[in-house]
Subunit: 327 residues, 2 copies
C-alpha cells in the first residue's frame, strides 16, 4: 500500500512540475522555442483551463486551417494544378481535338506558361476537363491513385511528403486538447478528402473546400453522383467565412493561414468574443522551402501581413521558428 | 481479494446475461417490442461487433435523419412556415406596402389558403422576406426567441415539445453505439441549428439543410455575414444525397425518413456495401399525432412506401410500434 501511495505522489509531482514549466519540451519538437510556439501554448492553456475567464467548452474548440501553403507547400504552383495537368494528359487520347485547342494544346506540349496565359478562363477549362464528367466514386479513386504515386517536380517526393512537420504537430497538439481541427481551403474539397484523414488526421466531414456541382442519378439501377462542369462554391477570400458558417455553423476560436486568401477567415475568427488565436505562416526559408510574400502570384501575403502586425496576430517566421520543415 | 474476485464474476455474469438477451429492456422504452425495434437492435449489433463480417469502424458509423415528420411533426404545415408567417407579421410595420401586395396581404389578414395559392413563387417570397436581409447572428437570435416561445396551433405546446420521444431515444442509442448522428432536412439549416443540439443532441456542424446565400462584409469595422434573398441549396429529394456528399463526404450506413422527399437519401444509403439500415416513419396515428401518406400534400409517402416494401426497409407503424409519441 505504501509503495502505491509513493508512486502516486511521484506521478503527481511530475504532473505539477510539467504544468509549472508550461509544456513538456517534447510537445511540438519541430518548433524552435520562441514567441510563436509559446503564444500557441499560452492560448491553449487559457482556453482549456477550467475556471479560467477564457475557458472554451470543448464543443466550441473549433480550429480552422488553410491547406495550400499552410499545411503543405504551394510552389511553384498549387499541387492541384499538377493533378489537373496530369489528368489532362491521361484523358488526351479520348480528346483528339485538344491537340488543336488551347489551353489543352499547350499543356500537352508541356508549355505551361502559354497554357495559363489565358488567365482564369483557361484555368477553369482545365479544371472542368480534369475534374468533372465522372462519378464521385470514380473521381475519389483517381485522386487516390495520383496522390499515392505522383511526385513533386522540384522536391522529388510524394506530394503528401511535402506537408509541414510543425503543422502536423500543431494539428495533433490541438486535437489532444479537445479541439476539432478543420481544413478550410480554396482547393477542391474532393481533391483533399481522399487523403486528408491519413495525412492530417482530418476526417472527410471536416474538410471544407471549393466544389463543383453534383447530380444524383440512377444508372443501371445503381444511384450515383455525377460531377458536373459547373462551379458550386469558391472557398477563398470572403468565401472562407461563408464556407465556415455554411459547413460548421460555429465561429472558430483559432485560425491558421498563410496568404491574403485567408485574411477574411482570420478576421472572422478574431471578431468573436473571448480569447482567439490567429496565425500566419510566413514563407521565409528559400533554402529549405521557398521565400515569398507580398509579390508572389501564388500565396501572396501582403494585406494580411500588415493586418497581422497591426493586430498582434502570430506571424511564424518559417526559417527562424521551424526546426524542421518536412517530415 | 476473494470478495473482489466474486464481485467481478458476478458483474461479468450480468453482462453476459444482458448480451444473450439481446438488449436490456430499458433501451428505447418508448418503442413497443416488435419487428421494427428488433431490426434496429439487430443492425446495431451486427455493425458494432468486432470481428463480425458486417463490422463498421466507428468513423464510418454515419446515421442521417430527416427532420420534418421524422424527428418532429410536420402537420398541418411545416413548422418553419409558421415561423415565416410570424416573422412576416412582426416585420409588417416596416413594410406598409405589404397591406396591398400578395402573398403578404393574405398572411396579414390571416388567410393562409389564399396566401399559399400563389404556389412555389408565393412561398419563396414569404421565405425570402422572413429569412433574408439580416446578419447570421441576428437571424440566429430571432430563431432562438421564436422557438423558445411560439406554440403549435393544434398541439398547443412549444414546437420543440412536438418532437418524437422514440426518435430521441433512437438518436441517443445510436450515439451510445459510436454513431455520429446527422440531420439532413429540406428545412432551413439556420432555422434548425440554434436548437438542434439542445433538443436532439445534434451539434450545428452535423445539421445539413436548405440554405440561402450569405455575403461577408465589414460593417463599422466588424465582420458580418449578411443573409441574401437568393437560394443557395435545396436539400430535398435528389438534393439530399448531394448534400450528404457535399457536407459529410462519406456514405451513411443508416438513414431515417418519412416521405418521398427522403427516398433518394435512403437509396443512396442502401446502395453502399455491407449492412445498411433504412427506415421510414409511417404516420398512422390520427389519435395521438396524424395519419397520412400517399395523398398528403405535406410529407407525402407514396413511391417511398412501395420501395420500402419491395426492398425490405423498416416501415415504422407509428400507432403500433410507438408506446409513446411525444416526450
Amino acid at each position: 500500500m505504501k509503495r502505491v501511495f509513493l508512486a502516486l505522489i511521484i506521478s503527481l509531482a511530475m504532473v505539477l512540475a510539467m504544468t509549472s514549466l508550461g509544456v513538456a519540451s517534447d510537445v511540438m519538437p519541430a518548433w524552435n522555442e520562441g514567441q510563436a510556439k509559446q503564444s500557441i501554448f499560452d492560448f491553449v492553456q487559457r482556453v482549456t483551463t477550467a475556471g479560467s475567464p477564457d475557458f472554451v467548452a470543448e464543443a466550441e474548440r473549433i480550429a480552422v486551417f488553410d491547406n495550400d501553403g499552410t499545411l503543405w507547400s504551394e510552389q511553384p504552383a498549387y499541387f492541384q494544378l499538377f493533378f489537373a495537368l496530369d489528368r489532362v494528359k491521361a484523358l488526351a487520347p479520348n480528346h483528339p481535338e485538344w491537340k488543336e485547342t488551347q489551353p489543352f494544346k499547350s499543356v500537352l506540349e508541356g508549355d505551361l506558361k502559354t497554357a495559363l496565359s489565358g488567365g482564369e478562363h483557361a484555368l477553369l477549362e482545365l479544371v472542368m476537363a480534369s475534374h468533372a464528367g465522372n462519378t464521385t466514386e470514380d473521381f475519389g479513386r483517381i485522386v487516390t491513385d495520383w496522390i499515392n504515386t505522383a511526385k513533386h517536380p522540384r522536391l522529388n517526393r510524394l506530394y503528401t511528403e511535402c506537408v509541414f512537420q510543425p503543422m502536423l504537430e500543431l494539428l495533433s497538439y490541438l486535437r489532444e486538447n479537445g479541439f476539432k481541427t478543420w481544413i478550410v481551403s480554396g482547393g477542391g474539397v474532393e481533391f483533399m478528402r481522399p487523403w486528408a484523414e491519413r495525412v492530417y488526421g482530418v476526417p472527410p466531414e471536416q474538410v471544407i473546400g471549393s466544389s463543383i456541382k453534383t447530380k444524383f442519378e440512377i444508372r443501371d439501377g445503381k444511384p450515383v453522383l455525377v460531377r458536373l462542369p459547373e462551379i458550386d462554391f469558391i472557398d477563398d477570400k470572403a468565401g472562407k467565412p461563408v464556407g465556415i458558417h455554411k459547413f460548421i455553423g460555429r465561429r472558430p476560436v483559432a485560425a491558421f493561414g498563410n496568404s491574403d486568401g485567408d485574411l477574411q477567415m482570420l478576421q472572422w475568427t478574431a471578431a468573436g468574443p473571448g480569447a482567439r488565436l490567429c496565425l500566419y505562416v510566413h514563407h521565409t526559408d528559400a533554402e529549405r522551402e521557398w521565400a515569398y510574400d507580398r509579390k508572389s502570384s501564388v500565396g501572396r501575403l501582403d494585406k494580411g501581413l500588415d493586418e497581422a502586425r497591426a493586430k498582434g496576430w502570430i506571424v511564424v517566421d518559417m526559417k527562424k521558428d521551424w526546426k524542421q520543415v518536412f517530415p
